[in-house]
């Protein structure tokens, strides 16, 4: 939470990703209550319908669930679900564009792999 909204992506997707990020960072724990759409609307000065759209996506993916009359809660196993989904999309979201950029610069696959192998900071 409390990140700034950008122009780059649809607002409701940003809301969705922010909640996911908070779940991954243990800011929101499993079985804990998530801010309501009204609270999100207040916090980000956005229309609650937009906030609801983002939240509903998470409900559809099984990351949040609704307790009638109380609110939205983080589902059990949400963290793993998010990780798994992001892992699956990793190629699409990051590798593809990495390869495209490398390609336009004339960096070969071999050079790329060397770059990765030589990196000292990545925690294996």
């Amino acid at each position: 939470m409390n990140e700034i909204l950008t122009q780059e992506k649809s607002i409701y997707i940003q809301i969705k990703e922010m909640i996911e990020q908070d779940i991954l960072r243990d800011i929101l724990l499993e079985e804990e209550r998530v801010p309501s759409t009204n609270e999100l609307a207040r916090l980000y000065a956005i229309n609650p319908a937009t906030a609801a759209k983002g939240v509903n996506l998470l409900v559809d993916e099984g990351i949040l669930y609704k307790k009638r009359g109380i609110g939205m809660f983080v589902a059990e196993g949400a963290r793993e679900k998010i990780r798994a989904r992001r892992k699956k999309n990793f190629y699409q979201d990051y590798v593809k564009s990495l390869l495209a950029e490398a390609g336009s610069l004339g960096i070969t696959k071999k050079e790329l792999i060397e770059m990765i192998a030589e990196d000292r900071e990545y925690d294996e």
């Binding site: 780059e8 649809s10 409701y12 009204n38 207040r42 000065a45 956005i46 229309n47 319908a49 937009t50």
Partner: protein
Amino acid sequence: MMSKLTAKGISKVYNGKEVLHEVDLELESGKIYGLIGRNGAGKTTLLSMLTAQNPVTRGSVTLDGKPMWENPEALEGVCFSRELNPVSPNGANTMKVKEYLRVAATFLPHWDREMAQRLAGEFGLDVGKRISKLSKGMMSMVTIVVALASKARFTFLDEPAAGLDVVAREKFYRILMEEYLDTGRTFVVSTHIIEEASDIFEEVIILDKGKLLLKENTQELLERSYHVSGHTEEVERAVSGKKVYHEETMGRSRGVTLLLQPGEELRPGYDVSIQHPSLQKLFVALCGEEAD
């Protein structure tokens, strides 16, 4: 309790000039609508037609099926808080703020006196001052106080943010959102300052030269608008066959803005950058000079 304000085929002619042409609009209760358009596009005229404060030349406006024109029952459901300005011929200018608010309290059936006082305090309004002597920002605040304290089911604000500095504007959006969250009232807000307000509008209504250009859920509209840029040839191939609203060319580089129909897609595989323009950039692309 669903309520609908319906405008069918609204046209308005002033001095032989048609300022609104065949506008069809349906406003549902419980939403915040943004009305955006250039100066002279007809925003104020449309708002005054929708609230039956001025007569239509053609067409009809109804609230839940009841005609609005000179109908006290239907009029109770709406409030049009007009822009105040020092040279308008209405009686408001010679009045003091508190007298103006007292007239509002007398005639607006759901007036919330406590809220009016609280908001006036929050905005730092000097209620003893004459309206004509107020700064533009303070005049906007009077407009806002009337609109919010009216507690009308359908509330229309004409350029409420004009004249407010950025801090006051943020305050206004916050207060508007709070009221919306508390009561679910319908708000229709016309504005020039598109970018700030785009986040709070559930639906956006774009008026261009008296015609309704589009009325759509803001997020959905933004999702189907694209800005494609790159080498002119690549861009042309990527968007071939599609209607393009705005073109910028510099040397071999070109950027175009386009709106895709639901289900339509850009041709993949071209070396172009694809971005979503902001609502403001989209609006300029749709309604700027080149779009004629």
